[in-house]
C-alpha cells in the first residue's frame, strides 16, 4: 500500500498547474470562437483543428497525467491516434483524388 501511495505522491501536478491549464484551455476556446468570424477559406478548418489539438494535448498531458506516465501508457495513448490518422488521411486522399465517373 505504501508503494501505491508513493506512486501517487511522486508524479502528480497540483492545483496551481490545474488552474493555469484551465485558464489556457478557456482562452484557447475563446480564441477559436473569435477566429471563426474571419474567413481564410480552407485555412479556417486547419486553424480550428490546430487549436483543438493543442487543447486536447494539454488535457491529456496535465488533466489526464499523461506527462507523468510511463512509456507503455504513451504507446496505448498514441497508437489509436496513429490508426485514426490512417483512417482520416486515407479517407481524405480518396475523396480528393477520385474522379467522378458517372453524372
Amino acid at each position: 500500500m505504501s508503494n501505491n501511495a508513493s506512486i501517487h505522491e511522486a508524479h502528480h501536478p497540483g492545483p496551481k498547474t490545474f488552474i493555469i491549464v484551465w485558464i489556457a484551455l478557456t482562452v484557447l476556446a475563446a480564441l477559436t470562437v473569435y477566429i471563426a468570424q474571419f474567413h481564410f477559406g480552407d485555412w479556417n478548418v486547419v486553424v480550428a483543428m490546430v487549436i483543438a489539438s493543442v487543447k486536447a494535448t494539454i488535457v491529456a498531458l496535465y488533466f489526464m497525467h499523461l506527462k507523468y506516465e510511463d512509456k507503455l501508457t504513451w504507446v496505448y495513448a498514441l497508437y489509436p491516434l496513429f490508426l485514426l490518422f490512417l483512417l482520416i488521411s486515407s479517407t481524405i486522399m480518396d475523396v480528393f483524388t477520385r474522379v467522378p465517373t458517372i453524372h
Binding site: 490545474f18 476556446a29 491529456a60 501508457t73 489509436p80
Partner: protein, 202 residues
C-alpha cells in the same frame, strides 16, 4: 495443490496494489483508444461529406446557435478542471473536498445536458432534423453519441462520489476516481473536436 493453500490463494487473490493500480489505468487507456476509434469513424464520415459538399456544410451550420456550443465548451472545460482537482484531493486524502469537487463536476455535466436539451428543442423548432441534410444527420449522430457518453460519465461519477462519501477511498487507494476521471476527460476531449467542426465552419 492443497485445499487450504487454494483457499488461502483465493482469499488473497488481489494483486500487488501497484500492479493492480497500473493495470486498471492501462485498461482504461486501452478502452479510451477504442472510444477514439468509435468517434473516429464518424469523423471520417464527416471528412468525406464535408470535402464533397463544402458549400452545403458552410450554409447548413449557420442555423446552429454558436452560443449553445460555446457555453457547453466552457462548462465541460471547467468540469475537467474540477475532476482533476477531485483526483488531486483524494490523493491528498481529503475525502470531503473530493466529494465537493466531484459534485461540482456532476453539476457541470448535468448543466451540459440541460443546455443540450434546450439546444435540441430549438433545433427541432427550426425544423432541423436528422433527415434535413447530411450535415444534420452527422450533427445529431455525433452530438447524440457524445451526449450518451456524458450520461455514462455522470453515472460513473455519481457512483464514485457516493463511494467516496462512504469513505471507500483515501490517499492509499483511489484508483476508481483516477480511472473514472480519465473517462470524463476523454468526453471533454471529444467535445473539443466536435465543437469547432459543427459550430465554427466559416
Amino acid at each position: 495443490m492443497d485445499s487450504t493453500v487454494a483457499s488461502h490463494a483465493e482469499e488473497h487473490h488481489e494483486l500487488d496494489p501497484v500492479v493492480e493500480y497500473e493495470s486498471s489505468k492501462l485498461g482504461m487507456w486501452l478502452f479510451l483508444g477504442t472510444e477514439i476509434l468509435l468517434f473516429g469513424g464518424l469523423f471520417a464520415a464527416y471528412a468525406i461529406y464535408r470535402a464533397r459538399y463544402p458549400e452545403m456544410f458552410a450554409e447548413q451550420h449557420r442555423e446552429l446557435d454558436v452560443w449553445f456550443g460555446t457555453i457547453n465548451t466552457f462548462i465541460l472545460l471547467f468540469s475537467s478542471f474540477t475532476m482533476a482537482m477531485a483526483v488531486w484531493s483524494i490523493q491528498k486524502g481529503k475525502q470531503t473536498r473530493t466529494v465537493i469537487f466531484m459534485l461540482i463536476t456532476i453539476i457541470c455535466g448535468l448543466a451540459f445536458g440541460i443546455n443540450k436539451y434546450f439546444e435540441y428543442a430549438e433545433d427541432f423548432h427550426k425544423h432541423l432534423y436528422p433527415q434535413t441534410s447530411i450535415f444534420y444527420a452527422l450533427y445529431y449522430l455525433m452530438t447524440g453519441l457524445h451526449m450518451i457518453h456524458v450520461f455514462v460519465g455522470l453515472t460513473i461519477l455519481s457512483v464514485i462520489t457516493y463511494l467516496t462519501h462512504k469513505g471507500k477511498f483515501n490517499e492509499n487507494y483511489n484508483t476508481p476516481i483516477e480511472v473514472g476521471g480519465l473517462y470524463w476527460h476523454l468526453v471533454d476531449v471529444i467535445w473539443i473536436y466536435l465543437f469547432p467542426l459543427l459550430y465554427l465552419i466559416a
